[in-house]
């Protein structure tokens, strides 16, 4: 008595162990399958599913679009010819009446539930002739059919057949459910992966196109600006000959007219030059290098010497500045533009421009934030964003001359390095520009 109980427990334990092993095998198989193709997944799963639960025969049916027909996809324990026989003898759909041996399978799919039959003899159902022929001299006693449900729709079924009577305990039913879930989640996961990959691909493509168009645009601007400058040079040169030859005989008005022609060509040249600079702002001319901002600022101040002296301006560098990574010429252009603006748009007796490091915990760790503050005329809040637009000017040529391209160029250079620029300002108090640069690693 005791021995038989022990023996029974041993058997149960062995069954549990086998099923655990089967689940492990199936989930391992599925984790490395990166396909949304159900036949592939079903084919892989059928064998461990049947083998480790001692089934004698196994079948996978899949629903195939467009007419929702059921096709045998894989077999276990049966010769492969079953697939061909099954798929050619008669058309099988979820609504087929004469389903014989496939009754449990179809029932499972329709109900989206596991169907278990302990004893076929009590079910008053027969098997198709070719199925019987194939398993001769055996006959089927127990059957279990597990539907595969994806997005709430039955797309297939795994059915296993036992010659001897088989008891499906709770644990085995749970095992079958788990197997079906693994298949479902594998397919669904892979479908998601495919969608993600597709959008990634599309995004990369869109990016490539955008990059290409931008390059073309920059090339166009460069060529166009070169071609535009040519006739301008000619106009100015010939106007200067007229001025030269007629200088003593021209009336005040005539001289003024010539003067205006020359001034206009010069202004236009400045505009075109800025346009070229803007198109160059995002071009890679040189490799990135480590730039010491302390040295760079000494050079910028030197370049601006005449302007600083003329306006009696003061440049204050309040911190020991860091080293950054980028193209030296372009970073120079950023500082030069911002410092020159601070001096230019300034009515103080002593225009002051202060450069310091801005500590802000929200700045990414690979960036350093700098600020350039002036005591100038300031900007109204509504223009805080607008002033970074191309050829955006807030004052007339008579008040402050310039093309209005400076800040657009600064912004484009910074954006090329994944950096940003923003500002705060108070009218008649001054403006403070903040921008980030890439830190030296």
């Amino acid at each position: 008595m005791i021995r038989s109980i022990i023996h029974h427990d041993e058997q149960r334990l062995e069954g549990t162990f086998k099923r655990l092993k089967a689940i492990e095998d199936i989930s391992y198989l599925c984790s490395s399958l990166f396909t949304t193709d159900l036949p592939t997944v079903a084919n892989k799963v059928l064998k461990p599913f049947c083998e480790l639960t001692d089934a004698d025969y196994g079948l996978v049916f899949l629903v195939k679009d467009p007419d929702d027909q059921l096709y045998a996809e894989a077999v276990y324990g049966l010769p492969d010819e079953y697939i061909e026989l099954r798929n050619t003898k008669e058309i099988l759909t979820l609504n087929s009446r004469n389903v014989q041996d496939n009754w449990p399978s179809i029932r499972a799919m329709l109900k989206k539930q596991i169907i278990i039959i302990k004893d076929m003899d009590q079910m008053n159902m027969s098997f198709s002739k070719f199925f019987k022929d194939l398993i001769k001299p055996n006959k089927i006693t127990s059957v279990a059919a597990v539907p595969i449900v994806i997005k709430d729709k039955s797309v297939g079924v795994i059915t296993k057949y036992y010659i001897e009577s088989h008891i499906f305990d709770e644990e085995e039913i749970s095992f079958m459910r788990t197997t079906a879930n693994i298949i479902t989640s594998t397919i669904e996961r892979n479908q998601l992966l495919e969608i993600t990959k597709k959008s990634e691909r599309e995004l990369t493509q869109a990016n490539e196109i955008l990059k290409h168009v931008n390059q073309e645009l920059d090339a166009f601007v460069y060529i166009a600006s070169h071609d535009l400058r040519e006739p301008l040079r000619t106009i100015e040169s010939f106007a200067s000959i007229l001025q030269d030859q007629l200088k003593s005989s021209l009336s005040v008005t005539q001289n003024d007219c010539l003067e205006r022609i020359v001034n206009a060509t010069q202004r236009m040249r400045k505009l075109i030059t800025d346009l070229t600079n803007l198109s160059r702002a995002s071009q890679d001319t040189k490799e990135n290098e480590v730039v010491d901002l302390n040295i760079l600022l000494t050079e910028v101040q030197f370049e601006l010497t005449a302007f600083i002296q003329k306006k009696k301006a003061e440049i204050i560098i309040s911190d020991d500045l860091p080293k950054v990574v980028g193209n030296k010429e372009k970073i120079t252009s950023v500082f030069k533009n911002l410092i020159a603006n601070g001096i230019k748009f300034n009515k103080s007796m002593t225009p002051q421009v202060k450069i310091s490091i801005h500590y802000d915990p929200t700045i990414a760790s690979d960036k350093v934030c700098l600020s350039i503050e002036d005591n100038g005329i300031g900007i109204e809040k509504e223009y805080f964003k607008k002033i970074f637009g191309l050829f955006q000017r807030l004052h007339s040529q008579e008040e402050y001359e310039g093309t209005g391209a400076g800040l657009a160029i600064v912004k484009k250079i910074l954006e090329k390095y994944g950096c940003a620029i923003w500002m705060e300002s108070k009218i008649n108090k001054g403006s403070k520009f903040f921008f980030t640069l890439v830190k030296e690693k």
Partner: protein, 146 residues
Amino acid sequence: MDTTINKKYKILLVEDNPDDVFLIKYAIDELKTSIELIVFNNGQSVIEHLNTDNNIDFPDLILLDINLPKVNGLEILKTIKAKPIVSAIPTIILTSSDLPSDMECSYKYAASMYFLKPNNIQGFKEMMKYIIENYLDGTKIPTLSS
């Protein structure tokens, strides 16, 4: 016996823009020099001209534009500098291209100088004065009045 003093210098100009030809001619005339200016408006003919083996009448200076139809100035420069006799002639690039690559390439092919075309006649005169004084020995030009 020094023959160079009274020698009439010859400048070969390769330029397809008639406006620039006019301006350079005008500048040379204004400088009151008796320099002869030979103009070619394309690369092929200038290469043929310089290739003539028995050409004893080589120019003393070549002014070369870059942006020319078919054969550009840099290719002409390369051809000139590959030819032993003519390679000795000072060759100056005179262009409106401010591309760093054009400048680098010019010096690589041994151009003597690289000038950006001036924007007014004063600039043309100053440039020609500099070129003549530095590349055509012994030619003195009175100080320009501006």
